[in-house]
């Protein structure tokens, strides 16, 4: 797998797949079935994007519950149909806003949610029975889901009417994003609890979005990104099926995926085509699913991320446009296009609009959406799709031989693979063997871009701390104690924890208290340190 070290960018893809200078009929292994047919190499839908374009999903989140609520109402007035909620790091890692360890980070990268009271303010006046809400939350996803259900029910909206998604993908947190709390095994149990709970009671809510994007941002190459993500998907399916309460047909349609698209154009297209085929094949062969709905690989992506650079930053607009085109040719369902100033600033309104326009021009002017899988049958693209899939299979087999994803995370094997690749890519960019315009080619003397400085919103923090103090002063202490004790007791057994978490939410327990009640049984993840 490390044979790529001496590759040249002229003859190999960025993941190290060797390329010939020309491809012909002899490179085709056979004609892939039409779009809309298993194994969906050529896309999930027979008429491609004609029936429905991909979704333009621009992500943002900031400030306190009040500010976010005002922003959501504005977006809905402008015709938006979905909300995207970004939480601050203390909420994501299971700390309350009044924890002395985290004062610096309250409300910084998203909204702080400590108790149901915050969720009630956050969604005040928003018709939760008609609006879909997506939460970028993992370690504490089950707790946020409990808040969402409780907040809706207090306003008379039944849980069955709620729609949306929680990311809820803990495995990639251990290896790349870092918002883990408990060890992998109990975390997987909690995720299975949410999947079963959603299927039974919140059936229009997606309980998990398996994300490879964070592996990529941490340094994985395109092929590793897809392989690690599918391996995570397999681990979640294995976990749910081992409990024997649900069938693959019941929950596989709830699973979706999420990736970064970077700059190696055909490699990215082949990555998505190969990933779609591999997932469909796994769901059918490993789990015996028969329906198309269960075997379909649905994914969203971000064009941008670590493929963008600060020097000559306006070049990023061009990078994002090519990446967006590759994503569409790969058959993406929803896309976020990053703003050119993202490497060094919170995107401005102008740069964010330009990023959205990039998608709109692609969708409405270029004509790429007219024909399903326009590259299908290309000698090169089909051959690269085959080669990519073969490498994905190899990497997944290597992880299985290692003892599976959980083992590879616990002993740092997975983190080591990602760190190796990150170091290699960094050295290639510094030495110039991986050309990056404006960085190691065609450089210009220009002043360094002015980085944005974050100012802590002291007033917002005070308001948050006051609300938390008020909640703690007015809630019923006995109800709180009982709910937390019941949660701990349930964690010791095998019952679904979601009803207990909803009880805790209704008792106005804090995120930190619920996390502690579970830590008492499960302990904490001990990170292996690998570099």
């Amino acid at each position: 797998m490390n044979d790529s070290a001496q590759n040249s960018s002229a003859t190999h893809t960025s993941s190290g797949i060797p390329l010939k200078s020309v491809y012909g009929p002899a490179d085709l292994a056979g004609d892939p079935p039409d779009p809309g047919h298993f194994p969906f190499t050529r896309g999930n839908y027979p008429s491609g994007y004609r029936g429905r374009l991909w979704t333009f999903r621009q992500y943002s989140g900031f400030g306190t519950a009040e500010e976010s609520n005002r922003r959501y109402r504005y977006l809905l007035e402008q015709g938006g149909t979905g909300l995207s909620v970004a939480l601050d790091l203390p909420t994501q890692c299971g700390y309350d806003s009044d924890d002395p360890e985290v004062g610096e980070e309250v409300g910084r990268v998203g909204v702080a949610v400590d108790t149901l009271a915050d969720a009630e303010v956050l969604f005040d006046g928003i018709p939760l029975d008609r609006i879909s809400t997506s939460f970028t939350i993992n370690g504490t996803a089950a707790i946020l889901l409990a808040f969402y259900v409780a907040a809706a029910e207090r306003r008379g909206i039944p849980r069955a009417k709620l729609t949306g998604t929680i990311q809820n993908d803990i495995l990639k947190e251990y290896a790349s994003r870092g918002t883990w709390i408990w060890p992998p095994d109990p975390s997987l149990r909690l995720i299975a609890d949410t999947i079963e709970f959603c299927a039974a009671e919140v059936s229009s809510f997606n309980a998990i979005s398996v994300a490879g994007a964070h592996f990529r941002d941490a340094g994985a190459n395109a092929v590793q990104e897809m392989a690690f993500t599918l391996a995570d998907g397999v681990t979640y399916c294995d976990t749910v099926l081992a409990r024997g309460r649900m069938t693959i047909e019941q929950f596989a349609p709830q699973i979706s995926f999420f990736f970064y698209t970077h700059g190696d154009f055909f490699e990215e297209i082949a990555k998505y085509r190969a990933g779609r085929r591999r997932w469909a094949t796994i769901v059918r062969e490993r789990y015996g699913a028969t329906s198309d709905k269960a075997s379909m690989f649905r994914f969203g992506c971000v064009a941008g991320g670590a493929s963008l650079y600060a020097p000559q930053a306006r070049n990023n607009t061009v990078r994002v446009a090519y990446e967006a085109l590759a994503s569409v040719l790969g058959g993406v369902q929803s896309m976020f296009t990053a703003a050119w100033d993202e490497p060094f600033a919170l995107p401005s309104e102008e740069s964010t609009t330009l990023a959205l326009r990039t998608q709109q021009i692609l969708a409405h002017e270029t004509g790429v959406a007219r024909v399903a899988d326009p590259l299908g049958g290309s000698y090169f693209v089909e051959s690269l799709t085959d080669a990519t899939e073969a490498r994905i299979v190899e990497i997944m087999a290597d992880l299985e031989r290692h003892g599976g994803m959980v083992r590879a995370i616990e002993d740092g094997y997975l983190q080591g693979l990602i760190a190796d690749e990150a170091y290699r890519i960094h050295q290639e960019v510094e030495s110039g063997t991986r050309p990056v315009v404006g960085v190691n080619r065609f450089t210009a003397d220009e002043p360094a871009p002015e980085l944005a400085t974050y100012e802590l919103d002291a007033e917002g923090l005070d308001r948050q701390l006051k609300r938390l103090a008020d909640v703690k002063a007015t809630r019923d202490a006995v109800t709180v104690r009982t709910a937390l004790a019941e949660l701990t007791r349930a964690a010791e057994g095998t019952d679904n924890l979601m009803p207990r978490l909803i009880d805790c939410a209704n008792a106005y327990c804090t995120v930190g208290e619920m996390v502690a009640a579970l830590k008492a049984v499960w302990g904490e993840f001990q990170q292996p340190v690998v570099f």
Partner: protein, 143 residues
């Protein structure tokens, strides 16, 4: 040349990530580059408390603590580490800072006690040279 390498071999560096931000790609790349350059490198992992960074630095007897901070909280976190080392009678341990650091904050970090600052985009060779300059006495190797 051999003399300089031998001197560097004994030098220990702690790479640390304070705060809740989990982006450790840069920290790990720098850790590996320093190791490849002959330093003995200890990496704390992510989400470290200031007290535990200070305790590790003292316990491992490092010459330099490298903080990797991308969250925007670099001024406060750096000051707390410098104060912590001072309080632990370890003010001789140099503190250097890397990450998303606005140019305007570089002098402020120096004022807070940082011995060197390596904003995103600093070549690895420059990071290694900067750390080496802090850890080797000004003895030129004999030719």
């Amino acid at each position: 040349m051999t003399t300089a390498t031998t001197a560097a071999t004994a030098t220990r560096v702690l790479i640390a990530k304070p705060g809740l931000d989990g982006h450790d790609r840069g920290a790990k790349i720098v850790a590996r580059a320093l190791r490849d350059a002959g330093f003995e490198v200890v990496f704390t992992g992510i989400r470290q408390r200031i007290e535990s960074i200070v305790a590790t630095a003292v316990q491992e007897d490092v010459a330099v603590v490298g903080l990797s901070i991308l969250s925007g909280a670099h001024l406060a976190l750096t000051a707390r580490v410098v104060e912590g080392l001072r309080a632990a009678d370890a003010a001789d341990i140099a503190v250097v800072v890397g990450g998303t650091i606005p140019a305007a904050d570089v002098p402020r970090l120096h004022a807070a006690g940082a011995a060197a600052v390596f904003p995103t985009g600093t070549p690895l060779d420059a990071v290694v040279a900067g750390v080496r300059a802090l850890t080797t006495t000004a003895v030129e190797p004999a030719l």
